[in-house]
């Protein structure tokens, strides 16, 4: 009798997660889809008019910010990968007894709020702050030089804030690499470089995949860094959505942009998964 219903068990385990998704993902999505197709204003109320025209209009109007968000997201992912891989590699293979402490240091910034950390950068990089101010007083930088309110400060902020999301999955993947395989490669006359490229790197690809998703997706949608460290010319799509929602109470356009952003990210992730061969990675 019990055996007959055994197939139910995995589905039972899915119920809590499923309900959570339903309440906090599916329902809000439906509401957002609905809002995006309505027209009206705060005073007159919003009515459903199936106004699909809002989508092309919103994409057209804010294409610059869309492209910029993806550009920044792409740059940030590459930079965090370049910075994070050597870090994760060193901790995993050379960390020794300090491993746990080093990992703790990686996540230590999370003990302060995201906003506070970003605001701190605004002070550190201020035009007359202790870094630029000092360099200017030594005449190493011209008087009018500034970093805040440039793409450099926004991208640096994003890299700083999302680096741990890259390092941790990379560490997990690299740590799992069987060191004997590397030894075998060198025994078979591979140079250390070849051993890394042919053994360690391919085996750590699941970490690269997970890390770049965890970095790219929130970076593209982020608005805090561009808000605090940026200016008009660094405004990302997240800033536009925030503006439309909170400042202009233009809910339909904001909801439409939110949807387009999500669709675009899904598409990019699907392409990336195809490119890197995610199915083989996850099954391996």
């Amino acid at each position: 009798m019990l055996r007959r219903f055994r197939w139910v068990v995995p589905y039972l385990f899915l119920i809590p997660g499923g309900l959570w998704l339903l309440a906090f993902f599916v329902v809000p999505m439906v509401i957002m889809a609905s809002v995006s197709l309505q027209t009206g204003s705060l005073g007159t109320g919003y009515q459903m008019t199936w106004n699909f025209g809002v989508y092309p209009a919103a994409i057209n109007q804010f294409s610059t910010q869309f492209l910029r968000s993806f550009e920044y997201g792409f740059i940030v992912t590459i930079l965090t990968l370049l910075i994070g891989y050597p870090m994760a590699y060193t901790i995993a293979f050379r960390g020794g007894r300090a491993k746990n402490i080093l990992l703790l240091l990686v996540i230590l910034p999370f003990f302060t709020s995201f906003i506070i950390r970003t605001l701190a950068w605004k002070l550190i990089l201020a035009d007359e702050g202790f870094v630029l101010g000092t360099l200017k007083s030594w005449h190493l930088l011209p008087e009018g030089f500034g970093l805040i309110a440039t793409p450099i400060s926004v991208i640096s902020g994003l890299v700083y804030n999302f680096l741990p999301f890259m390092v941790l999955p990379l560490y997990v993947a690299i740590e799992k690499v069987d060191h004997r395989l590397v030894e075998a490669a060198t025994d078979l006359y591979a140079s250390r470089m070849q051993a890394f490229l042919r053994v360690t790197l391919p085996l750590s690809m699941p970490g690269v995949f997970a890390g770049s998703l965890l970095t790219f997706i929130p970076a593209v949608g982020d608005y805090v860094n561009a808000l605090i460290l940026g200016s008009r010319s660094t405004r990302m799509i997240g800033n536009v959505i925030q503006d439309l929602f909170l400042n202009f109470n233009d809910f339909p356009r904001a909801a439409a942009l939110g949807f387009v952003l999500m669709a675009a990210i899904l598409l990019m992730v699907a392409l990336y998964a195809r490119l890197i061969g995610a199915e083989e990675l996850t099954s391996g």
């Binding site: 439906v30 705060l42 109320g45 309110a149 109470n249």
Partner: protein, 430 residues
């Protein structure tokens, strides 16, 4: 949210009732893993059901009902009040405490949770609006917002009526220019907190010259060190004035021209950013050389943060605004909020506030009281402080000359506001 979920449930029921999916077949399909199909069938109905109700006070929504009915009987004092105000808008001592608020707590036993949650009118409104629209409490008992937003929120039915029997100090001590204002006839919903002028703040050491006019903000010599406001009205109205147009008479074509005037410099990177009240720190720590600014902020900055900074009303004019204390719908502690409002209209309490923040006070004769205080301080031998206080005494009442150059906002209809916003957005977003 709850409201919309029930809307969804109703939509599902309606779909079932209309026979698109019978209850039994709906359940059976769901049981077979066909829930997705069932959901998809009723999805259009669900989407269509999530309309957002109109927010004009004419509609009998739950939210507006409470403010349009005759004043609800006042609950008794609750012992606490949640107050959202703007940064740099209260007296504060060296230890970071608020001495005058503490005095209120001592006198009444009411604990005040003071927050500086308002950085920008539009932004703060955007945050509390969803709750007000749904008829939920916002969590605040007292909020301080600018005149034009008070007008808009009254129109939307978002504010409680005040019980003037509980506000005797206002009747006795309010300066006549703050009673019965244009945005809230007879002060039914609001009492003035402080007022001031939107003009230009600058640091002469960095600009290396004196500033007199709005167009100085567009001087390429200051490229990348100019601040603009994210408050659409302040930025656009100052620009309109610089073109010789009174904001209250501006037509859309004028606003478009004002937008065009800003767009070129904006694209060229003239403006560092569009700020809320956070421009204060940027100006004080020299990231900004010149910026749109609020009069009293600059007075405070001179006294406490950066003595070099100056304020000027552009020769083409500035904007005169009044910030008001008001109680949002369904505030949990309205009686306490009334007591706190009444408290600030006692000159004994308004005095230390004004001495510290230096905005225009709505309380009668504050300037004289500060001067008297200054005399006392000088008699005790502290001439430096006395001089500082005299500077403030001169700033807490507008001079006739200043008011002659200051203009009121225009009341914008929904359509106008949308058009102004669209134009402004092309300036702020590039």
């Amino acid at each position: 949210m709850a409201d919309q979920q029930t809307e969804i449930e109703r939509a599902i029921e309606r779909a079932i009732a209309e026979g698109r999916v019978s209850r039994r077949s709906f359940l059976r399909r769901a049981g077979q893993g066909g829930l997705w199909l069932g959901g998809a069938l009723s999805l259009p109905a669900i989407l269509a059901a999530c309309g957002i109700k109109p927010q004009s006070s004419a509609s009998a929504s739950a939210a507006s009902a409470s403010s349009n009915a005759s004043p609800t009987p006042m609950p008794t004092q609750a012992g606490q009040v949640q107050w959202a105000n703007w940064p740099a808008y209260i007296d504060i001592d060296d230890k970071g405490k608020y001495p005058t608020i503490e005095k209120f707590t001592k006198e009444t036993g009411i604990k005040v949770t003071y927050t500086e949650d308002v950085n920008d009118n539009e932004d703060f409104f955007g945050k509390i609006q969803p709750d007000l629209a749904k008829g939920n409490p916002t969590g605040y008992d007292l909020i301080v917002l600018t005149d034009w937003l008070i007008e808009k929120m009254i129109r939307l039915g978002y504010l409680e009526k005040l019980d003037h029997d509980q506000l005797p100090n206002f009747a006795a001590n309010a300066d006549p220019s703050y009673t019965n204002p244009w945005y809230d006839p007879n002060n039914v919903h609001s009492l003035a907190w402080q007022s001031g002028i939107t003009g230009i703040g600058y640091n002469p050491k960095l600009t290396k010259r004196e500033i007199t006019k709005f167009d100085d903000l567009l001087d390429p010599a200051f490229k990348g060190h100019v601040g603009m406001f994210s408050e659409m009205r302040d930025t656009m109205c100052l620009t309109l004035l610089s073109m010789g147009i009174k904001p209250a008479e501006a037509k859309i074509a004028d606003v478009q021209k004002a937008g065009d005037k800003l767009l070129g410099p904006a694209k060229a990177g003239q403006f560092r950013n569009f700020y809320g009240n956070d421009y204060y720190d940027e100006l004080a720590n020299k990231n900004l050389w010149i910026t749109i600014a609020w009069s009293g902020d600059v007075t405070q900055m001179q006294l406490y943060d950066n003595a070099d900074v100056k304020f000027v009303i552009p020769d083409t004019g500035g904007m005169h605004w009044v910030d008001n204390m008001t109680i949002p719908n369904l505030a949990a502690h309205p009686t306490d909020a009334h007591m706190l409002m009444n408290f600030w209209y006692d000159p004994a309490n308004a005095l230390p506030l004004s001495e510290y923040i230096g905005y225009y006070s709505p309380v009668k004769n504050i300037s004289d009281l500060i001067s008297k205080d200054a005399d006392k301080v000088e008699a005790s031998g502290d001439k430096a402080t006395a001089d500082q206080m005299r500077v403030v005494a001169a700033t807490v009442n507008p001079s006739g000359e200043q008011l002659k150059h200051a203009y009121d906002y225009k009341i914008l209809s929904e359509d106008e506001e949308k058009q102004w916003n669209e134009i402004f957005q092309t300036v702020t977003t590039g």
